[in-house]
Amino acid sequence: MCIVNRTRTTVQAMLCALLLIGAAVLYGKIPQRVDSFAPILVRGTAPQKVVGENVAVTVHQVISTPEIRVKSFADSTLSKSQLTKGRWIVVDASYETVHDSATVGLQLVADSRNIDRESLSLYPSGQPGVEARTAAVFDVPEPPKSLNLLAVNLPNGYRELMQGSVDSQLVIAIPLDMVQQRASVEIVDGRIAP
């Protein structure tokens, strides 16, 4: 009887220990908060429209140039020329959201460099189903061997008030044969001049 009791106690203790170890292992595998909120990657290739959870982007054309000329609006007589020692990569894209208004942030990955968009104009909000056109300009130090455009919803006070941050990030591969070489590009009110 005593041996039976001792065996039962030992089995119970072992089961308890296994349960605790299992719980500890599972707890260690739960994603951290930042991992949980990291965007889910959605991949695509230009010029196809790439659609994520609340962001959709279509790359229409890509231009590599040493000079951009910037005007605020079409009738303006003021044109500001900007030169770079590397290349300006001008991405002519349209963007929209899917179900909520949000500011769409664009970033270029040229080879292994993540390059922020030049702030030539305001970042207008993306609206559901309303396609907005933009010329996103990136200063790349040397002619790139690979190009990817990243698109993500930037934090927006109202959107965060309304719902959580689970979202997607578009990774749009730009084939190099899509990149046109030009001596100069004129940008009017954030868009490539026709």
């Binding site: 605020s72 609006f73 079409a74 179900h99 208004s101 189903g129 309303v130 109202y158 008030l161 309304m162």
Partner: protein
């Protein structure tokens, strides 16, 4: 069974206590915080008025002429149209904004599919027309304010939602159903 209950009493009491503490300190505050935040705290039927914190709110469709676009305006996105609504707010017969300690508010337009638009950049002619008729474009200003947005042709706006916040992280969502 009785023996099992007697032997497990301490564990059962501890479990019940843990659940109670969790509900009181985590679950209930989370539920209370989300109340009126994700779901409207107040829903106002189409054409009705609502007195909220002493302020009388009325929402209606704004009959705005089609704007003449100027060269400084951004181009009109394809397959879209402008929709316009307005709010009148008063208290004791005078224009008022927000009562009840609310310090900020913003309006958004919701369609039948649950899509949501914020008022964006408007053509200058629209801003001029609204200003000329005394409509503010932000809802923290007392009196009437307009909510104008560019939406796709296939959007049927079913409600305007107004989110209010205060300095203590409080939030409240009000829904105004649009006239059919």
């Amino acid at each position: 069974m009785k023996t099992w209950l007697r032997r497990s009493l301490a564990g059962l009491v501890a479990t019940a206590l843990a659940v109670t503490v969790y509900i009181a300190t985590v679950a209930y505050p989370m539920w209370r915080e989300n109340l009126g935040r994700l779901e409207p705290a107040i829903t106002v039927p189409a054409g009705a008025t609502a007195r909220v914190d002493g302020v009388l709110w009325r929402m209606y469709t704004l009959d705005m002429p089609a704007p003449q676009h100027k060269s400084v305006d951004p181009p009109v996105p394809p397959h879209t149209r402008l929709v316009s609504y307005a709010f009148d707010r008063s208290k004791d017969g005078k224009p008022d904004a927000l009562g009840g300690g609310w310090t900020w508010c913003g309006a958004s337009l919701v369609d039948e599919r649950g899509r949501r638009w914020l008022p964006g950049v408007l053509p200058m002619a629209v801003n001029d027309w609204l200003t000329g008729r005394g409509y503010a474009s932000i809802c923290t200003e007392p009196g009437s304010f307009a909510v104008v947005a560019t939406v796709p042709d296939d959007a049927t706006i079913s409600a305007i939602e107004v989110m209010m916040t205060n300095d203590t992280d409080g939030k409240r969502l009000m829904r105004f159903v649009t006239p059919g």
